[in-house]
């Protein structure tokens, strides 16, 4: 039997290699035998995840601009904690040989988690949140791809019930850009203002303008400041083919629809739909949460239904629930329903259509 090295030598002879099999039809050493296809697209999980990281950069910068260096610090700490947690679990608890952190998904989770908390949050709290997001939300289910719930939202839900005061204290945008302590200047979020309308009526409130909402001069989580920055990142993902445009539109559309009905019924108490989709976490949820691949359905139809349902639940929580904001809970609720959606919302199969059925009956049995 010749070896692979022999082959490479023999192939240098004139006229290329001669077949040097040991008998008729014997397999040639060194030739790979595999089933088709033999081509694959230039795509990988890491490429997708790092593209999401890139898409989150405008929002990171907006957070930095409006809430100062404290926002950047929270983001950095969240990312570092998420990456460290995943690396530790994979290498030392699961004892796998290669860490999965290079795929970038832990970075995405860390960033999204930081974008869902106030910039003033104590750092030990964001570290704990990141540990829960990665440990409970992701690795407990088997790591990337296996988690039923969005890990960042699992972390946020944990923090909201563990540190309710710190999680709902909002720094005022632009007030203390260079300060690491934002506790001195706090304010309300746009949704918080309209939630506490009470009996005074909306017209009596001091509401931020739509331009402020769009650009980000509002109180809120790190990633909630600027709708514009989020949309920029989202459109980048649409352009790269990682986000189907109907999905974020379905989410925002259904929020607008439900809040719009309430607004039409009683504009004195309920704010208009444009305010709803520009304020709070609606934009971040629309472009980066309901579009998460792992925790949403598999068919496009299913994804649109998922997004639209999450939008309805968000609106209902905002309008009638105990919290001013409902994006993260609505998405977590819908995450739990993904297997049901997957079972019932199948893609259209070829050869089962109306046309195909008619042709089949016309053709008769064969």
């Amino acid at each position: 039997m010749s070896t692979r090295a022999d082959h490479q030598n023999s192939a240098q002879g004139p006229g290329g290699a001669r077949p040097d099999t040991t008998g008729p039809g014997a397999a040639r050493p060194g030739l790979l035998v595999a089933l088709p296809p033999h081509e694959r697209a230039d795509e990988s999980v890491a490429r997708i995840m790092w593209a999401v990281v890139l898409a989150l950069i405008p929002t990171t910068l907006a957070g930095l601009y409006f809430y100062g260096i404290r926002a950047a610090l929270v983001t950095l700490v969240a990312v570092a904690a998420a990456v460290a947690a995943e690396h530790f679990i994979v290498r030392y608890m699961l004892k796998r040989e290669t860490s999965t952190v290079t795929d970038g998904s832990a970075v995405v989770t860390g960033m999204l988690l930081a974008f869902n908390v106030p910039a003033s949050l104590p750092l030990w709290q964001i570290i704990l949140g990141a540990l829960v997001a990665i440990g409970v939300g992701k690795m407990a289910f088997g790591g990337i791809g296996n988690n039923p719930f969005n890990p960042a939202l699992v972390g946020r839900a944990f923090m909201l019930i563990s540190f309710p005061a710190d999680m709902t204290t909002w720094p005022v945008p632009g007030a203390a850009r260079m300060s690491l302590d934002l506790s001195a200047v706090t304010g309300a979020t746009p949704l918080g203002i309209v939630k506490d309308v009470g009996s005074v009526g909306l017209s009596a409130l001091d509401l931020p303008s739509y331009l402020d909402l769009f650009l980000g001069r509002i109180g809120g989580c790190v990633g909630e400041a600027s709708a514009l920055a989020v949309i920029l990142g989202g459109l980048f993902l649409v352009w790269r083919g990682y986000v189907p445009l109907p999905v974020p539109l379905a989410f925002l559309g259904s929020i607008a629809l439900v809040t719009g009905i309430a607004w039409v019924v009683d504009p004195g108490v309920y704010i208009d739909p444009l305010y709803h989709i520009l304020a709070g976490g609606a934009m971040l949820g629309a472009w980066f949460m309901v579009t998460d691949m792992t925790t949403t359905p598999m068919s496009l139809k299913g994804r649109v239904v998922f997004a639209a349902s999450a939008g309805v639940i968000t609106a209902l929580i905002r309008l009638f629930g105990g919290f001013p904001e409902g994006v993260s809970y609505s998405i977590l609720i819908m995450n739990a329903l993904v297997p049901v959606i997957d079972r019932h919302m199948k893609p259209r199969k070829f050869g089962y259509g109306k046309q195909a059925g008619a042709a089949a009956s016309a053709g008769g049995a064969r």
């Binding site: 790979l32 035998v33 033999h38 081509e39 792992t294 070829f350 046309q355 195909a356």
Partner: protein, 459 residues
């Protein structure tokens, strides 16, 4: 939006890599020994009619069709039958083959070897049918289904459109492209014969837009024939299609051209269509007009290293020629060749040895080096849904993979696993390098077994 038509569901767009499209077809002279397998088609192997020591010429019948779905096999060379032996085919199976020592190039006298174009087609459909059947023509697009069987239209059925498949959507392959350019007139006559045989007055030649020269040439030739009164206006049309894989799949091509879907588990005939490859149509011309059996075909020999070194091309090769002879003629095996694919890179088989013979269904040889040939490490499914999005049959490959892994074959059957056309788009698109099609293929086999045992149970 593109101005070209295409199919509706799924599809991918791999780099075309048509490295040899500009290289004219070269004849490869038969030499040495060749091995002609008795089973080069779907159906029963042919029945041997020669024995060791028999003298044969080009076109001599070696084995006749046995049963309804089968095809005869002819000698592609002149010489002496050295032995009847088993050879390893592209799938890695050992198959019975006639091994012939080549001596000269004597043709059977019944074959018209002149280069003249014979445009007058016979009107006797039975005569056409028997010529097609006797010449051993099988689908040259890869599936190798006997053409005579495909065109034996049962009582009560009719064909309104014949579709000639010049799509060649597989990357790398350029054999059909060259055939369309160099044998356009024969293709048109072959198409007319098949139309007559199928009883239809409409034929559509589907070609992807990346072969603009073939589209233009065929349109031009058809216009001239119509002007000369040889064919009616609108009798044969050329349809330019958008580049998209797997457009050359029969079901996808029909849908792209006519908007009709072949119902699940049915045949194109059920929606009044028949599809035939361009090279098959040329073979039909040669069989009916020249009495020439299916003894050779055009094969693309390609690969990045090979072509960069000035090798590669499109070769007219006698059936049974070993891959080694073809590779030598095309410039020799690049030294770090790690994989040899017979067929296209999406559906072709990686062959185990250079002794594998060229058969009626082999359209290409692709030489890949290790960097192109290796499979990457399989990662977790991240539910990105690309496999679902690219499946041209509307299936959910990720789900089929899971069901087959858990041996839930009945569920896989309900999910339509048998509708899978094995185009490989799901595997191609998967960012986690999951071997989705490997699992689906395994599952299809199991489901077919399941159905068989169910049928036995019902009897």
């Amino acid at each position: 939006m593109s101005k070209y038509k295409t199919f509706t569901l799924g599809g991918v767009h791999p780099p075309a890599n048509k490295l040899t499209g500009h290289l004219p077809i070269r004849d490869l002279e038969p030499r040495g020994t060749i091995a002609i397998p008795l089973s080069q088609h779907i159906g029963k192997p042919a029945e041997l009619v020669v024995e060791r020591g028999s003298e044969v010429r080009v076109g001599t019948l070696l084995a006749r069709a046995s049963g309804f779905i089968s095809a005869p096999v002819h000698s592609s060379v002149s010489g002496k039958v050295k032995k009847i032996d088993s050879v390893v085919d592209a799938q890695g199976h050992r198959r019975e083959a006639v091994v012939i020592t080549v001596d000269g190039d004597e043709w059977e006298e019944s074959i018209d070897t002149s280069p003249d174009l014979l445009e007058e087609i016979p009107l006797d459909r039975r005569m056409i049918a028997s010529r097609i059947a006797d010449s051993g023509i099988v689908g040259a697009g890869g599936a190798a289904f006997p053409t005579a069987v495909k065109f034996s239209i049962p009582e009560g059925r009719s064909v309104d459109t014949l579709i000639i498949n010049g799509v060649e959507c597989e990357p790398y392959l350029t054999a059909d492209h060259r055939v369309m350019l160099e044998q356009a007139d024969e293709l048109i006559v072959g198409t007319r014969i098949l139309m007559h045989e199928a009883g239809t007055a409409r034929a559509i030649i589907g070609i992807e837009s990346n072969k603009a020269d073939a589209i233009e040439l065929l349109q031009e030739r058809i216009r001239i024939k119509a002007r000369e009164g040889k064919i009616p206006e609108g009798f044969i049309t050329v349809l330019a299609l958008k580049e998209r894989y797997p457009q050359g799949g029969e079901k996808q091509l029909i849908e792209a051209a006519l908007g009709r879907e072949v119902p699940s588990g049915r045949l194109p005939l059920d929606i009044n269509c028949v599809v035939s490859n361009v090279s098959t149509a040329v073979a039909v011309y040669q069989a009916v007009q020249k009495n020439r059996p299916f003894i050779d075909r055009v094969v693309t020999v390609t690969g990045h290293k090979l072509v960069a070194a000035g090798g590669g091309g499109n070769f007219r090769v006698r059936i049974g020629t070993p891959v080694s002879a073809l590779v030598d003629a095309a410039g020799g095996l690049p030294e770090d060749t790690a994989k040899i694919i017979m067929g296209g890179p999406m559906t072709g088989r990686a062959i185990p040895s250079l002794d594998v013979p060229i058969t009626k269904g082999s359209g290409g040889l692709i030489l890949m080096d290790a960097s192109e040939a290796s499979r990457l490490a399989v990662k977790n499914c991240i539910r990105c849904a690309r496999c679902v999005g690219v499946c041209p049959m509307g299936l959910e490959p990720y789900l089929l993979e899971k069901l087959v892994q858990h041996e839930r074959y009945e569920d896989a059957e309900k999910e339509g696993i048998l509708d899978c056309i094995e185009c490989g788009s799901c595997n191609y698109a998967c960012p986690s390098n999951r071997p989705l099609l490997d699992w689906i293929r395994l599952g299809k086999g199991k489901v077919v077994e399941l159905r068989r045992s169910r049928m036995r149970g019902n009897q």
